[in-house]
Symmetry: C2
Subunit: 660 residues, 2 copies
Amino acid sequence: MASKGHPDNGDVETKEMDIRSLSSSRRVHNSGSLHKVGVPPKQNLFREFTATVKETLFADDPLRPFKDQPRSRKIILGIQTIFPIFEWGRDYNWKKFRGDLIAGLTIASLCIPQDIGYANLANLDPQYGLYSSFVPPLIYAFMGSSRDIAIGPVAVVSLLLGTMLSNEIDPKNKVEYRRLAFTATFFAGITQATLGFLRLGFLIDFLSHAAIVGFMGGAAITIALQQLKGLLGIKKFTKKTDIVSVMHSVWGSVHHGWNWQTILIGVSFLTFLLFAKYIGKKNKKFFWVPAIAPLISVVVSTFFVYITHAEKKGVAIVKHIDEGINPPSVRQIFFHGEYLLKGVRIGIVAGMIALTEAVAIGRTFAAMKDYQLDGNKEMVALGTMNVVGSMTSCYVATGSFSRSAVNYMAGCQTAASNIVMSCVVFLTLKFITPLFKYTPNAILAAIIISAVVGLLDFQAAILIWKIDKFDFVACLGAFLGVVFASVEIGLLIAVSISFAKILLQVTRPRTAVLGKLPRTTLYRNIQQYPEATKVPGVLVVRVDSAIYFSNSNYVKERILRWLMDEEERVKAACEPAIQFLIVEMSPVTDIDTSGIHALEELHRSLQKKNVQLILANPGPVVIDKLHASDFANLIGEDKIFLTVADAVSSCCLKPVEEEV
Amino acid sequence: MASKGHPDNGDVETKEMDIRSLSSSRRVHNSGSLHKVGVPPKQNLFREFTATVKETLFADDPLRPFKDQPRSRKIILGIQTIFPIFEWGRDYNWKKFRGDLIAGLTIASLCIPQDIGYANLANLDPQYGLYSSFVPPLIYAFMGSSRDIAIGPVAVVSLLLGTMLSNEIDPKNKVEYRRLAFTATFFAGITQATLGFLRLGFLIDFLSHAAIVGFMGGAAITIALQQLKGLLGIKKFTKKTDIVSVMHSVWGSVHHGWNWQTILIGVSFLTFLLFAKYIGKKNKKFFWVPAIAPLISVVVSTFFVYITHAEKKGVAIVKHIDEGINPPSVRQIFFHGEYLLKGVRIGIVAGMIALTEAVAIGRTFAAMKDYQLDGNKEMVALGTMNVVGSMTSCYVATGSFSRSAVNYMAGCQTAASNIVMSCVVFLTLKFITPLFKYTPNAILAAIIISAVVGLLDFQAAILIWKIDKFDFVACLGAFLGVVFASVEIGLLIAVSISFAKILLQVTRPRTAVLGKLPRTTLYRNIQQYPEATKVPGVLVVRVDSAIYFSNSNYVKERILRWLMDEEERVKAACEPAIQFLIVEMSPVTDIDTSGIHALEELHRSLQKKNVQLILANPGPVVIDKLHASDFANLIGEDKIFLTVADAVSSCCLKPVEEEV
């Protein structure tokens, strides 16, 4: 392979001259001295395979710290890897604890009223929301590596779970419904842990950012609409979640279904909550105002209802909430029977969505504080937490956007803030739940509405519109799907559009005609640089993607069409006919057998037209395959150049030689 | 936007100097005069959208000939587009007809015995094979645009149809089975025509070449094994198609199930057929030898059985074959009832496979004779042909690999050779079918075996192994799936592996560290060019793919990992610390909102490390989005360069300035 090797002796001097004299390249006579395309050293098949597997599944090199360590150290490192608390716990100090304590108390005050409301969204009794804020955060604090995430039930997952579960079992059949909820939670955890353990975490990346923005926005609207039931004191309410059914329910009950006392309480506290939110947004120093406002609302309104006995005037209240901590629920999980499969299906969907939310939060805050987060390890932690949760009467918990932000702003230092929160929830469950008896449902509705308002991210949607129209379609599709059909349909639309985009990307890669930038050796897209000029008799086309079976045929036909267009133009302008087609291969990172076939067919078609095919700058993998398939010999190894400029100058040499 | 525009005045001179002096770039003082990255002119949203749709669905610009034509001409062109026979028919002449006549007679002599055998593979009576070689080729001759394809039933589709149909209805229930076969054929046609009409033809590209090679090879083995029944005269034979069940059947009947007279006939004629094939392969002039050998075998063996009355000694014969041409079958198609959905499902699968085969053949011969083939139009033709076929007692027909090759070698000029073949089949059906009564089944088995041997493409498999190991896995997976499980499982494996490859491509794009080729201004992958050197204090990384939601996170983390590795190396070697990270964006053809987010996070992480992010040569779409998202302002517009060399020289300027 010496001939394909790279010359590192005298002729590089000539090379430099070439570049200098390219604008008058006809002077160059010695084309043999141009830089040759390097062929990378042959790799062992096994090593190549392991390298690919490693790059795909272990891109983050999780075993790096274990390298070259003694055995005892490895064991310690192993434990620390599974339970990061033993890592950060060693540097834990009083100052950090102060931060975590304040943050933990703040998020606890926020989570308790939210939990009760979210449990309602999932069609579960209020205490199940609190249960889910007790056990899972504890587990996460030991196993998770994010320092800022606040664990517990969240609005979107609760809604999703509520919708999917009630499609299978009527929520009035409380026992069976709850059993299915635990089953789904169990399998959500299994799904999460499995994805993490098999290092398939990248699968959640397939839900694009844009789709998530649309989905979350739609879910926020849906959840807010659902709260009209509580806020307006409507008794007969649709079970569907789409905007049409809900508005129908709302207007249908306007004359005899609304309760003005409820509306008064609900609307006034909603105003208070939104105002508190506004204050917190206006001045970051007052972040705690919106954080404790919900608890204040609950306390004040409960007291108010208790003294006025408003519940007798039609104001719906919580009525009953079980005292005591989580009862075990292992035996309630369906491990066989007809509901097993349904639980698995619901669990997989809910688990994936919960994962997406948690990982997005984790990444955001990790980037803000600049620490590394191992996505796959996070998934194992979240999965374990939900598996344990399903055995202790919790439903799917994950990271909450709003509470994590409060946690961050309140100055949390480590996952210990979750432990603090968990302790507060424990005390609440143990001692104060009976006090929630008179809490009006309207307050819970107001709290949920004010919480989900933050999920409506108009600015992100505008930015998406500005940057990428296709992304905006995905965003809008997911949004409208959730709002007008159901959460599941919205999710399906989001995933489908995301996949359609991937398919489009791999079937219709971009190609561009290149021109020479005036008085440089650079060839660039003539659409981007209108001043770039074409070289007479030469067409330079760049293919902007790996050439695979999914696009090889298109690429071939597209190049031929560029050539046809150019030939027509040249004919009309009476310019010299195209003699050389240079394909710039820099962006072609890989090629497969179908791609090689397409190149062969291209070569054959060009031969019929008397056009010479020339390749410029194929990458290491491509040049390797061009040689393996003998295509390099077919077109001639001297037709493969390091740069477009070299290739062009070789085309321009011929007339000179003829003149000589 | 003038500042981002391209300078076409004096300062290009400086630019040229830059390039010349790059190996000593510290001398360059005026970084402001470097070429700027061009921003393409803003496009109208609607025009951008239509351009995308056009490129995706109408990449081949089917309406191009209609442009600027008077109305009457447009109508004629329209008719010619739907029925290309009116286009090529006008130039038809005696010389072309002679070629078509000879080719048509040759493929007719080949197809008649094959059809009878293939009908058997599909568990249908022999005449249905002949029917399918009468109507569909006629329709195709009017509507199709390939000049070389030979239409009729083919082995793989017959086997697939036979397997899938008999999973639903026992073939012994002839009437119902046949009805389902026509239903499947109808919907296969609908599928094909719809794909073509909606211009979704690119969907069949998702079955990769490698997967097809494996699938076809596996199908060939399976079909050949099935023929052992006829060849050995076994009466009790498994209905499964996997190699284990079949070999079990064969060995289980070795003592009392085999019939030596059958074996004698079968093996001797198989030897004859394979020898004829060998002669044809050895010398292209004798291509007609293997083409007429099957008919000769049928005639000779039928005559032999007739005079020796071998059928009374246990040699299975065709026995009965209906006389007369295709009876109508519109009323037999299931348009409702439980079999409708099954028919649709089978039809879609069989239709797609048939399409894949026909399009591959069409493309191959079009490339060989250098004419254009509109894939979508072809699909409409094939679809119409199968829809009409399903109404005239035909089952799924498509282009046959072996007969098309014979057609080509016999010198066919147009699709008229299909008409000739169709006429011969018509005469056969009308007059000579009774003569097939004494044809031994062993001969049909021998003919099928010798036909499918050609589908085993070892050379292609070896080439695939050489070029792309992942492709080879797809090939092997499809092959083993078909051989050891079933045709459907093999197909499923092929499609899954193809999709997995696409997903891998979009989630794990390649990245490379670049180095400067000695005494040039070129930066290339240091793995490909080991002599390339890194610039002290600067790390150049190239991302080899569009940055989308599916890979944005990976790309960000991979770049950070390259930086970490480099920092470790630099530290160990006591070289100056990395101050600049240049991301070469040439291959990044597009970026979406997730990608922009990833860049922002990368920028933030680098700021924490005091490393400056610099971008080199973003393409038109990317630069547009960098501006739309304000990311260009975030890192500073002067941090975006036209080439890596420019970017590097800007990094090297600083120390000089400080020295000054």
